[in-house]
């Protein structure tokens, strides 16, 4: 046990936390921006998977990291837009549409993988990877340096994205409109804002974030694509963003909390505990954290809250 504690309070551990958090921060931002526009987006799982796949394939065939990045992001945006098309244009329930797209992403990537590799071992597809990066001055600082420096460049992009998210949401007209649409779509509509278009933009931006997360997974975290490699990160991202109140810093903290738990799981699995049990820890942690979170929010009163004035005009009374 003491060796476990020692290894947890090591520089390597905290370095790993940042690494493991990266593919959570991206999709969590994607969830957060759609939530701000008033939609729940559980489609990040599929967006990540598609982008992870696209990136690997494009990098192998073009041997260009830049083209792989662009193609991956484009695939994510396309998926986000497709979700928007089903929900906003065809009026499908956004949860159902996202579930369908997640299945599509899973099936489609497996299918294409088999077509492309002819059923060979997936590790035959060696992807290009994003480079790691040492930060000049920072790396020489003791303790802090080894934790913060030497990460994959996408990890730094993830932290930068948190800032970008903040700027987009709170410092641009589009961000103001996204928030207005999320809080009271009728208010936005009454001043001539195209509500559906704003929601579509939010979904497309979430596609960008999700794609970056997926690209990091297959082209940084590892260097190949394997089936369903996103492994629930798109859903954990929903939890992380919700815990963070969909705000930039909160979403970052939420993602890193799950990153911390996942990393600890990796360390614990070196002990003599059945691995299946250990594997369940991150998911168990999600349930526990969400339970505590919602208990804190709703504990004092079990019965439903007194309704407030807004959000109530959903049920119009029909004229005779």
């Amino acid at each position: 046990m003491s060796t476990l504690l020692e290894s947890i309070f090591s520089v390597e551990f905290f370095f790993a936390v940042l690494r493991v958090s990266t593919p959570l921060i991206f999709p969590a931002l994607g969830v957060a921006i759609t939530a701000m526009s008033g939609n729940i987006n559980i489609g990040l799982e599929g967006i990540m998977l598609i982008a992870a796949f696209t990136g690997v394939i494009v990098s192998i065939y073009t041997e260009s990291l830049m083209l792989a990045l662009l193609a991956g992001v484009a695939s994510g945006v396309f998926f986000g837009a497709a979700l928007g098309y089903f929900h906003l244009k065809l009026k499908a329930d956004i949860i159902l549409a996202a579930v369908a797209l997640n299945f599509l992403a899973s099936g489609l990537t497996i299918f294409l993988l088999i077509v492309i590799t002819g059923g060979r071992n997936t590790s035959a597809l060696r992807s290009l990877t994003f480079p790691s990066f040492n930060i000049p001055v920072l790396q020489s600082i003791p303790v802090l340096g080894p934790i913060l420096s030497g990460h994959n460049i996408m990890t730094y992009v993830a932290f930068l994205s948190v800032f970008v998210y903040y700027v987009v949401l709170f410092k641009t007209p589009l961000g103001l409109r996204i928030r207005a649409v999320g809080q009271n779509p009728d208010a936005a509509r009454s001043v001539g804002i195209n509500v559906d278009r704003v929601k579509l933009y939010a979904l497309m931006i979430s596609g960008v974030f999700g794609a970056l997360g997926g690209l990091y997974l297959s082209m940084g975290y590892v260097s190949w694509f394997s089936r369903d490699m996103v492994a629930g990160r798109g859903f954990i991202a929903v939890a992380a963003a919700t815990m963070g109140g969909n705000l930039s810093f909160g979403t970052l903290l939420g993602s890193m909390l799950f990153g911390l738990v996942n990393t600890a799981t990796i360390y614990i699995s070196s002990l003599d505990i059945p691995s299946d049990l250990v594997q369940s820890i991150p998911y168990l942690a999600t349930v526990i954290v969400l339970a505590i979170y919602s208990a804190r929010n709703f504990a004092p009163r079990k019965r439903r809250a007194v309704s407030t004035h807004h959000g109530e005009n959903e049920h119009h009374e029909k004229k005779p």
Binding site: P173, V191, R301, R303, V306, E312, K319
Partner: protein, 515 residues
């Protein structure tokens, strides 16, 4: 005076066949306040929705300053200089006043970024120009309703509105706030703005309007200068027959207390104390009216009385039974019935039929069911009886209840609640959003319940209703009872106003446990 907006022979028919506007013609003169009055469903809001581009007419012309005008969406109407203040305020609650005002036409910095400082500055300027004071950097959710409405007006003015449409703007305001709104409107009129004021509150129409158009059943009945019309005259034209707006006679016999509340305290989810040390009694044969601006604890209090919210401390006695720990069903069985303020949320299951909604509290009776089946014939007969007795306009008891008009849905709720033969009737906003015909009929039903010796606890934001029906009145402010009037027959709206706003309070009120 020049005609700014002219509507000629306008027809609007909804896809389900409802004729909302039938050959409607109205001229609105520039620089006047023009009231459009009528019952719910008379077509006045629809007419304005056509003008504002929310919906389109089937035939007929609208011209704005002599030019033909047919907006296909609100943004076209906004560009043409029309502003609309909707009944449900169209504001984003967590955004600041300034952000709400500039939303859609945001000032930019560097071409890309939202310039918050300039938004605040612009909002401040427009607020000063029209002398409508608002705290520009506060979020909407922190403001009282009257101020929120001012933000809505500023929103329209910021978009250079020359013609302002206000849809039932006073529905949620206190008499004092209403007066402030009216001063604002008068002032805007002096600055040359034209105002269309949709209402069914006749006193207010009389106070504010220069011209009145009366609509009934999708048609314009008459347009006249306000000076030539009396309140009774307008009411009669609106409904088509004489309306009794006077107070009901005080009850002849008041029995013992049937509902007693002692030292009740409640806390809201957000930790704010919603109800503070509230005590009162309601006796059989009387109506206790609760006046107050909405959101001062009335909603929570009512929900506690019917078992929908828990209390922190205090007693709620029905007869001599403390119901604080009982379930809503147990409380109903003790003879408490509930006419809820939000009928679509708490009063009915909107997608179920009328008869299903009627028997929801009584389906377990032997008359209607055994443990494995429901006797639909009996249910139908029972519902048909209630539809007749309560004068509900419904096609068939098997129709979905939400296919009825608001007034008739409310009559279904009232029919169910009063036919349960309760001892105590807890009625919250019983006539909200219903037309004056239903308003009058629902009042008759409540007074009949009172005359049969029921104890009626009436919460309403409609002061006319409180003053018309109440035997005694209490006023709530910030969860406390700040005033008690033992004889409601001498009380006026102006008497209640200062207490409702928290400007005045009776010294003894909170200490006194009502006799």
């Amino acid at each position: 005076m020049e005609t700014i907006l002219s509507i000629q022979n306008l027809w609007k028919i909804y896809p389900n066949g409802t004729v909302a506007n039938q050959d409607v013609s109205v001229d609105i003169k520039e620089g006047t306040i023009h009231a459009i009055v009528g019952e719910n469903g008379a077509g006045k809001t629809t007419l304005m929705k056509v003008v504002f581009g929310i919906t389109q007419a089937k035939s007929g012309n609208i011209s704005l300053r002599g030019k033909l005008f047919a907006p296909s969406q609100p943004s076209e109407a906004i560009d043409a200089g029309i502003g609309m203040v909707h009944q449900h305020l169209m504001l984003a609650p967590e955004l600041t006043v300034a952000e709400n005002i500039v939303l859609g036409v945001e000032p930019k910095r560097g071409g890309v970024f939202f310039d918050f400082d300039r938004a605040v500055q612009t909002a401040q300027e427009i607020s000063e120009k029209y002398q409508l004071a608002v705290p520009v950097d506060k979020p909407i959710s922190e403001l009282p309703i009257g101020t929120r409405q001012r933000v809505e007006i500023l929103k329209a003015l910021y978009r250079n509105a020359e013609l302002l449409i206000l849809d039932e703007p006073t529905a949620v305001l206190t008499p004092q706030e209403t007066e402030i709104l009216f001063q604002t409107l008068d002032q805007l009129k002096e600055q040359g703005k034209t105002i269309v004021f949709i209402s069914h509150k006749l006193k207010e129409v009389k106070r504010i309007a220069d011209t009145v158009t009366i609509m009934r059943a999708a048609k314009v009945i008459d347009t006249k200068p306000a000076a030539e019309l009396s309140i009774e005259g307008i009411a009669e034209l609106m409904v088509g027959h004489k309306i009794d707006l006077s107070r009901v006679a005080t009850p002849e016999h008041i029995g013992p207390a049937k509902l007693s509340v002692r030292n009740l305290n409640m806390t809201r989810d957000d930790g704010v104390q919603a109800v503070r040390n509230v005590s009162f009694e309601v006796a059989g044969g009387e109506i206790l009216g609760v006046a107050g601006v909405e959101g001062n604890g009335q909603t929570e209090l009512v929900r506690a009385l019917v078992g929908l919210l828990p209390v922190d401390s205090g007693e709620i006695l029905v007869g001599s039974t403390d119901i604080a720990q009982l379930s809503p069903k147990d409380i109903r069985q003790l003879g408490v019935s509930h006419i809820p303020e939000d009928r679509m949320e708490d009063g009915v299951a909107p997608l179920m039929s009328i008869q299903e909604n009627i028997i929801v509290d009584r389906y377990e009776k032997a008359e209607f069911s055994t443990w494995f089946r429901i006797f639909w014939k009996n249910v139908l007969a029972h519902t048909v009886g209630l539809i007749r007795d309560y004068r509900i306009h419904a096609g068939s008891p098997k129709h979905e209840i939400s296919s009825l008009s608001g007034g008739n849905i409310q009559k279904c709720v009232v029919a169910r609640e009063l036919s349960a033969d309760p001892d105590v009737v807890v009625a919250s906003q019983p006539t909200r959003g219903v037309d004056i015909g239903s308003w009058e009929h629902l009042h008759t039903l409540i007074v009949e319940a009172r005359n049969r010796g029921r104890a009626v606890f009436l919460v309403s934001a409609d002061l006319d209703e409180i003053l018309k029906l109440s035997t005694r009145i209490i006023v709530m402010f910030e969860g406390e009872i700040v005033a008690r009037f033992e004889d409601a027959s001498t009380v006026t709206a102006q008497d209640l106003g200062p207490y409702m706003l928290g400007i005045k309070r009776q010294e003894e009120s909170s200490a006194k446990v009502s006799a």
